[in-house]
Symmetry: C2
Subunit: 346 residues, 2 copies
């Protein structure tokens, strides 16, 4: 199967002109969609991730239903920590729990390098199934969590608001932090390389919670490891480097790497792109809460973003974060159509 | 009692040179301090706010203990909504609950203007007691919640992560949103004027959660009401305009008003000040999580902030948000001493 290099999403990632602005949505495969809920009724979350046929089906659902310009692999950023032996569990309705969080030097010393090929082969199999099914329609977007965001779960033991355990650990035990981040960076690089080898044409690195950090902390404790991951991808696929709450971190994130920098909604797109610089693309940046409003509001806000992008090559439309589960499917479909219509340059 | 206009905090707020960089800390009076916990053992939270002698004692505790350059009134940003009749309660260990949240046009129509003088006199009494006790040592900082942040509690019914009800309400019912925000803006202006009349020499407007918004939404749905509050203060006292997660909103917040713009830790101070512009002061911006680390880390991070401020008139040192309750008191004291020592220009 050949995916032409000139599909809009890949062209935009390389800052080449496109006939319209490509759009995909974080969590476009998810709970807001009845087809997804039907499959989830038969599979637990981790079970679904580990069943390649089902994960591939979920990955493909929004491509036909919404007309988006890319399929995003169905998986979870924490799959990579399962082989670390920290006791990962997806507790029903409560999100991920890590039963043996890493909080001390001794905890960090017990960690072993992650054998990605031996433990995450089911993800590569999903990528292969999806790539075959997509043929040349739209590219598959692979992804992984960035080392900081994954480490934050490993240290906190689950989701966090203030990341106090993570920050204390990095301030107080920099050598142990380096060991944890080094293991995650190495495994993440290998994991993304494996997805690309299996058929992903572009990858997104999710540093979703990095916006909790001061820029000085980001540069010292995070950027070197993120850079290691992105450097390892090299030119094998474009990399979208994404986080939320990052309006003050954009220059530092750009310096850490990525062909495209993801912008959340907390910055005007033109201002965010100015900070990132014309040498990179940007992705974003509609507040996902706008999708709860009536289509006229969605249209107004999408038009404002496209106006700020000004049709310059290198803009991938997306939300600033994932689709909320309360979102009406028809609103999501309306956004995709609005972006295609308003950005039509043919 | 006369507080000379040339105490460092007030001079800095007016961008006049100071012998050292003044510092105060959000939540400097709070649970991290044993003296505070001792008083809280005898008073419920709302009861403490409404007992002027006790609230004044709590306000004064950190002035002597820490050597900070300002006292911040002990109160809560939600006191102003009690007279709205929405059923405010401070539930033990769970934060504020609003039992009858405003979610519809009918809910908003039922709201009555708030008679600040008739219902919040106890706060003005606390201000008078504190002002007398402080004499000419340091100024009292009055404060109020900004209309958006207060409205978010009134709509959500309590704290929120994503503010979906608030955003949906403002998108879908702009006239009802205007009514709610108008009532809050009018009452907040009167409330701050009352604090200034009672002795507060400077005030901070807390728009703590405004960083959840896209700049376009901020300009349309928030800035006009914030401006109304700040314009009403006029030249009667300097205004510090504060929010968190606002790295992409700083220019819009500056345009809404304030002599000093509060920066949280998610932006480099020099970059934040560049956005705000030299015509305003800035306050901030140490990550409060740094106070959990050993004093050598605190010193390094404080020095970085002072270096970025470069001794320019108009910098008030503060955390980027409130002191966490797990913080050792001696670390807070160490920060105050470090800032005074490193910024000494005498």
């Amino acid at each position: 199967m050949i995916v032409p290099a000139d599909v809009p999403l890949l062209r935009a990632a390389r800052r080449e002109p496109t006939p319209f602005t490509p759009i995909w949505l974080m969590r476009q495969a998810g709970r807001y969609m009845p087809e997804y809920r039907a499959i989830r009724a038969r599979h637990g979350f981790l079970d679904l991730c580990k069943t390649p046929d089902a994960a591939a089906e979920v990955t493909l659902q929004p491509v036909d239903r919404l007309g988006v310009d890319g399929a995003i692999l169905f998986a979870d950023i924490l799959l990579i920590v399962e082989p670390l032996g920290v006791g990962l569990e997806f507790a029903k309705g409560e999100g991920p729990v890590i039963h043996r969080p890493v909080r001390s030097v001794a905890d960090a010393e017990r960690l072993q390098p992650i054998d990605v090929d031996a433990t995450l082969g089911y993800v590569f199999e999903t990528v292969r199934i999806v790539t075959r099914a997509l043929a040349d329609r739209v590219p598959l977007i692979g992804f992984a969590g960035a080392p900081f965001t994954v480490a934050s779960y490993v240290v906190e033991g689950g989701p966090s608001r203030d990341f106090l355990a993570t920050k204390s650990f990095m301030y107080e035990e920099p050598a142990a932090w380096d060991r944890l981040m080094g293991i995650l960076a190495g495994a993440t690089a290998r994991y993304l390389q494996g997805q690309i080898a299996a058929g992903a044409r572009i990858v997104q690195l999710f540093d979703s919670w990095v916006g909790a950090l001061a820029p000085a902390d980001y540069r010292q404790f995070v950027a070197p490891y993120t850079r290691r991951v992105i450097d390892a991808i090299g030119t094998s696929a474009p990399v979208i480097h994404f986080g939320t709450g990052t309006s003050g971190l954009l220059a530092a994130m750009r310096d850490a790497g990525g062909d495209v920098i993801g912008l959340d909604w907390r910055v005007d797109l033109d201002e965010g792109w100015r900070i990132v610089g014309e040498g990179r693309g940007v992705q974003g940046n509609l507040d996902p809460a706008v999708l709860l409003a009536r289509p006229s509001v969605i249209r107004e806000r999408a038009a404002d973003i496209l106006r700020r992008a000004g049709g310059r090559p290198g803009h991938i439309f997306n939300l600033g974060h994932g689709v909320y589960q309360q979102t009406p499917v028809e609103h999501v479909k309306a956004l995709v159509d609005i972006v295609h219509e308003l950005s039509d340059r043919r």
